[in-house]
């Protein structure tokens, strides 16, 4: 507890540039460095109950509608027609877990193909098994799962005007579980074609977030499995936004340029459910970043 507190003070003080330097360690990651063993163990333990609507992942299930709305609303509102066709989307879901979001996206008629990526073999087994419960997903065959680190995923080819990179990379509730979020974001941005999107969500590193997500959620109400979150790994909304400004704004050489078009706070209200409300820099938030070039 005390240790957590100290770490957090340090983290709070760190400007966005320190957030970068702290996390921008190397580009040659082995797959083991993307995810720490104890995080892996934690999610392995959750595998069997992942799809239990009344089980430990209930909040995640309930959040799902908000996620898909956020993704497609952002695409519909902010897409640039010259850069992208928003009707045949090639998607990548990083940290797909049991496939709650991945399945929902795969059912959308605008999605051409989607790959769910996760580091836990047990959780992926659950995802693959659950997919079989929906004949539509099986027949359409748009959805695949891959046991693979994002760092090990080859960057799709770009040749002869055919860009095989992804239209959308989603990273929901991922950044706060990895040791090096900055590296993960770098890897993700490389996979996205111009006109494409990254959608991410995480939690602000605030006292309010500690109180709601960890103290009340995990300790008191027990609606979030214990050990799911560690407060020091939370990332503030402005840190994430500025990461894009500092690292992905007119990158010399590649001409790569990203815009954070939208961040939205969201809140779980008991008896009502998840709602887009509350300030974006308080608790949970979603982020939509668009690659312009």
């Amino acid at each position: 507890m005390i240790r957590t507190y100290r770490v957090s003070i340090r983290a709070l003080k760190s400007s966005s540039s320190r957030f970068n330097s702290r996390f921008c360690l190397s580009r040659n990651h082995s797959s083991s460095s993307a995810f720490s063993p104890d995080e892996l163990a934690h999610f392995n333990a959750l595998a069997s109950s992942w799809w239990d609507a009344n089980g430990p992942s209930r909040l995640l299930h309930k959040m799902n509608g908000l996620r898909t709305s956020f993704i497609f609303d952002s695409i519909d509102t902010y897409s640039i027609p010259q850069l992208s066709r928003s009707s045949e989307l090639k998607m990548l879901d990083v940290g797909c877990g049991g496939g709650i979001l991945t399945e929902a996206l795969a059912r959308n008629s605008r999605v051409k193909s989607i790959t769910g990526l996760d580091m836990s073999e047990q959780v992926l087994e659950v995802a693959k098994k659950h997919k079989l419960q929906d004949p539509r997903l099986v027949i359409e065959n748009k959805l695949q799962y891959k046991l693979c680190s994002l760092f090990d995923l080859p960057v799709p080819e770009v040749a002869d005007g055919i860009d095989e990179r992804y239209d959308v990379v989603t990273m929901f509730e991922v950044l706060e579980h990895v040791p090096d979020p900055s590296a993960l974001l770098h890897a993700a941005t490389n996979l996205v074609k111009p006109g494409g999107w990254i959608f991410a969500s995480t939690v602000n590193r605030t006292a309010a977030a500690y109180l709601t997500t960890i103290f009340i959620g995990e300790e008191i109400l027990n609606i979030v499995p214990k050990g799911t979150h560690s407060w020091s790994k939370y990332i503030n909304e402005n840190e994430l936004r500025e990461w894009f400004v500092e690292n992905k704004s007119n990158v010399p050489g590649s001409g790569e340029h990203w815009d954070v078009v939208k961040t939205t706070g969201c809140l779980y209200v008991p008896f009502i459910g998840w709602r887009f409300c509350g300030p974006r820099d308080l608790g949970n938030y979603f982020l939509a970043a668009r690659r312009m070039a």
Binding site: A53, N54, R58, H61, K62, N64, G65, T68, S69, E103, A104, L105, A106, R107, N108, S109, K112, S113, K129, L132, Q133, D134, P135, R136, V138, I139, E140, N141, K142, F271, G273
Partner: protein
Amino acid sequence: MIRFAVTSRSCFRAAAKHCRPLRSGCYFSSTICAGGKAPEPTESEDIVRHTHSEGPPTPEIDHPNAPKPTESEDAVHSDRNAEVTLDDLKRVSKTTDLDPTKLKDQTKASYFGVASNDSLHVAGGSKKGVRPLFSRIQNDAYDVVIVGGGVSGLTLAASLKASPHTSALKVALIEGMSLESAARWDPSPDQLSNRVSSITPASKSFLEKIGVWEHVYPERVQEYDNMHVWDGVSGSRIQFDSFHLHPVGQSMAYMTENINLQHALLSYLSESAATGNSVTIFDNTKVEEITPTSVALEDVDLSSWPSVRMSNGSTVYARLLIGADGVNSPVRSYAGIESRGWDYGQHGLVATLTMEWNDRQNVAWQRFLPTGPIALLPMPDGKASLVWSTTPKLAAHLKSLSPEAFCTLVNAAFRLDMTDLNYLYTRFNAEDISAEFEWRDGLLPMEDEGAKFPLRVAEVQEGSRASFPLRMRHCDSYVAPRVALVGDAAHSTHPLAGQGLNLGQGDVATLSSVLEKAVVRGADIGDEVVLQEYWAERYPVNHVMLGVIDKLQKLYCTDAAPIVALRSVGLDVVNSLDWVKTMIMKQATGV
């Protein structure tokens, strides 16, 4: 090429071809699934071999109508179109690998890849010793299977087809009775069905929204904007006028026969089928058994899907199973949902009456007798619908009386004191009852007779007297994984407030909007998390309404003096407060 097969059992799709202009009465051609017998599937599209010799025995698909496993590789095919030939060629060449690229192009909102059989069964047909593929039972798999073809079930089917988001869902509806008479209903002006419901403005606007109300025969709908309710013991009364309604001038409720609604819903569905949005209706077909799906398939896992075995021998598989199957819901039993409540110890006696004049048709009347409330609700052309809640013994007595004696007793029940009424109950002879009533009625003060009592009943329509037990039931939950209950399957109530059908319509409106949202968001519509949203929204609303009706019923079911005194003071106070009456009306009309 299988696209047709998917809906080939749809009597509506087939019927649509023969669809006569609206209101002509006949929407079903001879292809209606009469007797629940679905047309035989023409041929085996998907040839899957059952090889029992190796490995664990392959479970049989319990579907007598399903194509039987064929022994030879080159099965005989129906030549529905030329693609079949192409398919045969593929089969002969023993193409074994499943090419995913063929499967990408899919339909929009249906959860089934309708067009994909071709590729799938090529793979299935050429492999030996494997379990059958999903394509084998695809025709019998539905996104939504609705059990019950009453007003709630049909409304849900219609509302799913009405929304652009859910119209592509593959929907089946199973009804134990024949729906043909409702679909072909050709009403005669002087006959009214005794099964009548009060439609609140909220329910009406929902039916308008989904496009069903325009199919209702308007001349068989009677609206009213005035209601008199009084205490049979003390005479204390409350009167609701049109100015208590919001917006002022709208109707309090619309009285119509249930069959008018069913007919309208079936017309709507057949019209919708003509535009390609068909619902497969198995009428005259009983549900024999509901179980979790036990068919083991090679490529999918349907173990969480309910499978419904029907009396026509077929089985359907449901992504989402809807129980619109009434108080003793088999779907509810399957889901293991507990229903709680009590019987009122009363029977509701209904009858279709003709009043002495065709007048004052905008008023509904209800008098609370200690044995239960008696209500007279206006119907078109000087007719009225009676709902007399009373003891089972009295209900039986009233049904056994001659029509003349019965009419006299109805008049008496709205006018006489309890002592006089109780005496009349003991008489059997029509002339005797009539003479007793006239003498006692003559003793009553004549003031304001017209404003206080309904017109006298002149006749009761032959064969229209029927009674049914009254009870209050409410389910602990309306949902389970891949199951949702609507209408009477989820709750039933006393008819004194005319809310039964409307609570069901409210359920359907909420459920269809929840499902609509789920489809838009890409959720599995059978997912419990999705369905819980429906339950969370409807349960409190229904709970309050059931509670209020239950307390009213209990409050007025006694003639104990202190309670009568208290409730009379209460009613008088409420009657003097217009804003309270407006508030009550807002609740009762649902707006």
